[in-house]
């Protein structure tokens, strides 16, 4: 399989063009949804039935409590109904899901991770996939978005403790943003060849004497939100490498576009909501630069086709699908790991060592370029606060961010945010490598075995969900530790972000003076870019050098 540079460049160019065209109208639409106060009649009925008081705004603590209660209830319901699959309709004759798998999966889908310890074809029937997992694909994406909306309100508002109403934000994001966009995406996918049935089809090739059962399922509807909501949990085991999830190179490119779509439009909405479009553009430019740099690096690593087995095969091929080619697969691998998606159209375990390292590095960046739906933007805004803090130290002034003082409380919350994810990743991976029984689940040897484990915990704590899938994570130890990593990696940052939002909202807006470090423009953008990369490199470099770097450099 040859890496075509011309194919790579034109696909990247088309993606950039489409995103540049769409981000503004979509950003305006998103801002209107988040700032709107009117409800439609259907929404009012919905709020009444759900018991939501749509006119009451919440403090940060109540907003947070709503996030946590809603997510807990989601996990509980998804867990219990998986366990009961055997007696529920639409189970495709499959039994109840075993408790470890059900627990891990419930956490995984409610945290927007979509780590899959199970083989969908052999574990999850249509009911579980369509009514539990796909619904969480919508709602977990919406939860990520509403948290960043609360943070933006905290930045934009002054002298208030009100951040909005979680339930109203969740409903608006689900029904006004995700549902219509997913429906359009699903129709495009249908036309492109993604199936949408409720039955399998028996086929017989009489000449060759072959009979097959062609699996069916509501794939297009689920695939659309899986990609759009940066979820990534496949209807089939092979995920977006499966021909029914991703039938050709056009749909594959469309999926990359959908992965990047909402996260890259959110900065525009942010600029609009804080009343300074330059803020949004600076953030978007940093995201775009990181994305482009990572995409080019990934292309370089794919084109190198390093590896003894790869060389013996005469090039890339293992884990690749013929219809996508190496260029499209490298673009997909970058987008899926720079966001919290984790869908794959090539087996990441089999790509060249340095390419595997870049997928991990992308997640370790905190998935901020452009990141998961909502989580990418709040991740980068946190890094922007770190940047003004550093700039403030350099000029000897109390740092400010959009007219809000960044005092000790704000800095403590920010610093904890920065520490949470690396701590989870390095602690869980570190403990696991000391346990021979746990390591037996990663069948590779040498640095690649460590890479499989490091990838698993990086993916879990960053709520990505992709894997070096040689690892078997369905046993009690890995499924529970990975489950905990997903929970902490999702909700600890959200606690800190909402606390920060609350403390920013309370402050008055101080007018910018000649000593204020502007948080827009080239200078600040470069600082933010450097802070993002350095924070990551310092935290993870030792771990990366034991895994993918060692494998890539040792010949």
């Amino acid at each position: 399989m040859v890496f075509s540079v011309a194919s790579f460049i034109t696909q990247v160019a088309v993606l950039l063009l489409l995103l540049v065209l769409v981000h503004k109208p979509l950003g305006i639409y998103l801002a209107r949804v988040f700032e709107g106060t009117k409800s439609t009649r259907v929404e009012r009925v919905f709020y009444r039935l759900a018991g939501v008081d749509r006119n009451t705004e919440q403090s940060w603590a109540i907003y947070l409590r709503s996030v946590l209660v809603f997510s807990s209830i989601s996990i509980l319901v998804v867990f219990l109904l998986q366990r009961l699959q055997g007696v529920l309709p639409g189970n495709n004759s499959l039994p109840g899901v075993d408790p470890w798998t059900a627990m891990n999966t419930a956490i995984s889908f409610a945290t927007n991770t979509n780590w899959q310890v199970y083989t969908p074809e052999a574990t999850m029937g249509i009911f579980v996939q369509m009514c539990l997992l796909a619904v969480q694909n919508f709602l977990s994406a919406a939860v990520g978005i509403v948290v960043v909306v609360a943070l933006i309100r905290g930045i934009a508002r002054t002298r208030t403790d009100r951040l909005g109403n979680f339930w109203v934000d969740l409903a608006r994001t689900s029904f006004r943003v995700l549902l219509p966009m997913a429906a359009i995406a699903a129709i495009v996918m249908l036309i492109g060849g993604v199936e949408q049935t409720f039955w399998s089809t028996d086929v017989t090739n009489q000449a060759a004497g072959i009979t097959q059962t062609i699996p069916g399922g509501p794939v297009a509807s689920q695939e659309a939100i899986k990609i759009l909501g940066t979820n990534g949990g496949g209807y089939f085991n092979a995920n977006s490498a499966h021909p029914f999830e991703n039938p050709n190179v056009f749909i594959s490119l469309f999926q990359v576009f959908l992965i990047l779509l909402i996260p890259s439009a959110l900065p525009y909405a942010y600029g609009r909501m804080v009343g300074d479009q330059r803020q949004g553009y600076t953030v978007a430019a940093v995201m775009g630069t990181l994305w482009l740099a990572s995409t080019v690096l990934m292309g370089w690593a794919f084109a190198g086709a390093e590896g003894t087995a790869t060389a013996a095969a005469g090039g890339l091929g293992e884990g690749f699908e013929q219809r996508f080619g190496a260029a499209q697969s490298s673009i997909f691998a970058t987008a899926t790991t720079l966001t919290s998606t984790g869908a794959i159209n090539v087996a990441h375990d089999s790509i060249p060592p340095m390419a595997g390292g870049i997928t991990m590095l992308n997640m370790m960046l905190g998935e901020v370029a452009p990141g998961g739906t909502g989580s990418g933007l709040y991740g980068l805004l946190i890094l922007a606060i770190v940047s003004v803090f550093i700039a403030g130290l350099m000029v000897g002034r109390t740092p400010e961010f959009l007219g809000k003082k960044i005092g000790p409380r704000e800095m403590k919350l920010t610093a904890m945010y920065i520490l949470v994810t690396p701590t989870i990743v390095l602690a869980t991976a570190g403990v696991t490598v000391l346990l021979p029984d746990a390591m037996a689940n990663a069948p590779a040897s040498g640095p690649h075995q460590f890479s499989e484990v490091l990838y698993a915990f990086t993916s879990a704590a960053n709520n990505n969900g992709s894997a070096f899938a040689g690892i078997t994570s369905s046993g009690p130890y890995l499924s529970s530790v990975i489950g905990v990593a997903m929970l902490l990696g999702r909700f600890l940052p959200m606690v800190l972000v909402l606390a920060l939002a609350g403390s920013l909202a309370k402050q008055p807006k101080i007018p910018a003076s000649s000593g204020t470090v502007p948080t827009h423009g080239w200078l600040f953008g470069s600082l933010l870019l450097s802070v993002t990369v350095i924070m990551t490199a310092l935290s993870y470099f030792p771990a990366l050098s034991l895994g993918p770097l060692a494998e890539g450099l040792l010949k």
Binding site: L190, N205, A309
Partner: protein, 203 residues
């Protein structure tokens, strides 16, 4: 007490919200997409099922269709699909997930190269990478143009067809244009084998 009742009230709201959202997002939405699929693009929506000349469903154009013995050796009468980590089982789509330096993978690749070169009567260096590597899904219906080309003489002979006629069928099933440029020029083996079956003189 106040906090506890607050939690309970929110749990109730959460449960009702989840239930209502499930009706809309988990039932109405997929059913509407299903309806649109059946009305507008039934072929794609139903899994791209292609029929044989008698009109019976013969295969899915998107899924590899392989007859192989227990050791995974494919039937020599037909064009071969790429190796599959899941033995082309449609209920077990999977990749090998072996690393790029994995010794097991290295051995498997070398063995496959030797076997294919012998079976097709070509030099080992003429066996392309896609022929010796398992696909990402295990159900990849396509192969490279180079892999199709070295299989033409064997398949033509097995069916009493001229190599030129079989090569013409290969060309017809090769993707072209932008699809080949962004992806690769590839040949759909599932459809190609049905073409061969339809063209072969009855035995």
């Amino acid at each position: 007490m106040n906090t506890l009742s607050g939690y309970l009230r929110q749990a109730g709201t959460a449960l009702r919200f989840l239930l209502l959202a499930t009706v809309v997002l988990g039932l109405l939405y997929p059913l509407v997409i299903f309806g649109i699929g059946q009305a507008v693009v039934p072929f794609q929506a139903n899994g791209s099922i292609v029929k044989d000349p008698a009109g019976n469903p013969a295969a899915s154009a998107l899924i590899a269709q392989v007859s192989a013995d227990n050791s995974g050796t494919q039937n020599p009468a037909w064009f071969h699909a790429r190796p599959s980590a899941g033995k082309w089982d449609t209920s077990n789509s999977s990749a090998s997930n072996l690393g790029p330096n994995d010794s097991k993978l290295l051995d498997a690749v070398k063995a496959a190269r030797t076997a294919i070169a012998a079976a097709e009567g070509v030099k080992e260096s003429d066996v392309p990478a896609d022929a010796v590597t398992a696909s990402g899904s295990g159900l990849d219906p396509q192969i490279s143009v180079a892999y199709a080309r070295i299989q033409v003489p064997r398949v033509a002979k097995a069916h009493g067809l001229s190599p030129e006629a079989v090569q013409a069928m290969v060309d017809r099933r090769t993707v072209t244009g932008l699809e080949a440029f962004w992806g690769q020029p590839s040949v759909n083996v599932t459809e190609l084998n049905l073409d061969v079956a339809a063209a072969a003189p009855a035995k």
